[in-house]
């Protein structure tokens, strides 16, 4: 028997689904997903992927839990304030599912470590909160031919898209360069509803599950936007750009590099 009785019970709702079944659950259990950022987006993504039985989950974050995080970062509890986020993230995921392996990477992801970090994973979830990190993860994933889910949230809005090598645009095709510092406020300055992080982070987990199991349509070639106040989802079709600096036909970016982050962004 492939699964123990306990595993059959734990994953019964997956296995019953024709689209997932025994094979899909096995794929999930053999997969490795990296989540960059144990914050608002990373929290639901980490919990759902742990619950789904993703075999190895990497979580990368250099910060410690702050009281102001708890409004949206459901991986962490009041007792975790002051603790490294990756530690409380690991504890929360293992509490949900002791079968999985969690790799805690207590690092700021930068141009020097990003390729080594993503190398051992099948899919990357960008749960970061600043533009330099988002461009860095995009460039690294394009260069390493690693599929990833981009997402961003602010106030009552969120967006996400999925990059798969050879299918559709990368983040840089859509947004060529980061906006100038202070042109766009961070969520510390602008505020965000916790449940928006829950919606978008859960959608990122859903994209990872579909990619791993190999079912359905991914958000490749489209950007999904969510407006919580208007209660509207929009799916914008976006083409790959032949002249994209990183995934284009003659790329000028051939290795990851760091944009300078503003002081405020770094500690978010």
């Amino acid at each position: 028997m492939i699964f123990s009785n306990a595993q059959m019970e734990r994953y019964s709702r997956h296995i019953i689904l024709k689209e997932v079944g025994v094979k899909g659950q096995k794929r999930l259990m053999e997969s490795r997903v990296l989540i960059v950022g144990a914050g608002g987006l990373g929290s639901p993504a980490a919990l759902y992927l742990a619950a789904a039985g993703v075999g190895v989950i990497g979580i990368a974050d250099a910060d410690a839990v702050d009281l102001s995080n708890l409004q949206r970062q459901v991986l962490h509890g009041a007792a975790d304030v002051g603790k490294p986020k990756v530690d409380s993230a690991r504890e929360a995921m293992e509490a949900v599912n002791p079968d999985i392996k969690v790799n805690a990477h207590r690092i700021f992801v930068n141009a020097n470590n990003v390729l080594d970090l993503i190398e051992n994973y099948d899919f990357v979830i960008d749960g970061t909160d600043n533009f330099p990190a988002k461009f860095l993860i995009n460039d690294a994933c394009v260069l390493a031919r690693k599929p990833f889910s981009h997402a961003g949230i602010i106030r009552f809005q969120g967006q996400l898209m999925t990059y798969v090598p050879g299918a559709g645009p990368c983040y840089r095709c859509v947004f060529e360069t980061p906006p100038p510092p202070d042109a766009v406020p961070t969520c510390r300055q602008a505020g965000v509803i916790g449940a928006v992080a829950g919606v978008i982070g859960s959608l990122q987990a859903m994209e990872a599950v579909k990619y791993i199991v190999g079912i359905g349509q991914l958000l490749t070639g489209s950007l999904l936007t969510y407006d919580a106040l208007a209660m509207e989802f929009r799916k914008l079709k976006l083409p790959r750009r032949d002249d994209c600096a990183v995934c284009g036909d003659s790329p000028s970016i051939v290795k990851p590099f760091d944009y300078e982050a503003t002081v405020c962004e770094v500690s978010l």
Binding site: N5, M8, E9, I15
Partner: protein
């Protein structure tokens, strides 16, 4: 026990719905198309639901045998992959 040529057998009397079907499905995964499995299940709810779910997956129900001990054996031929 069934007087039927079976390649494999699985006992799902030790689990309850919906794990009954899940356990049968996991066991069937090991089979090749066309192979036959005997699935021993409790009378009542499993007999009502498991055969239907197995049929929905594209497998062929050959026979349901009453074992006269409160259990039944469902004889199934595995259908086409991703049917």
């Amino acid at each position: 026990m069934p007087e039927y040529p079976v390649d494999e057998s699985v006992d799902i009397t030790d689990v309850v719905c919906p794990v009954t079907f899940v356990k049968a499905k996991v066991a069937m995964e090991e089979l090749e198309e066309g192979q036959v499995i005997s699935i021993r299940m409790n009378e009542g709810e499993p007999v009502q639901n498991v055969p239907r779910s197995i049929k929905d997956e594209g497998h062929q129900i050959l026979k349901l045998i009453d074992n006269k001990d409160g259990t039944c054996s469902l004889i199934v031929r595995k259908g086409r992959e991703d049917a």
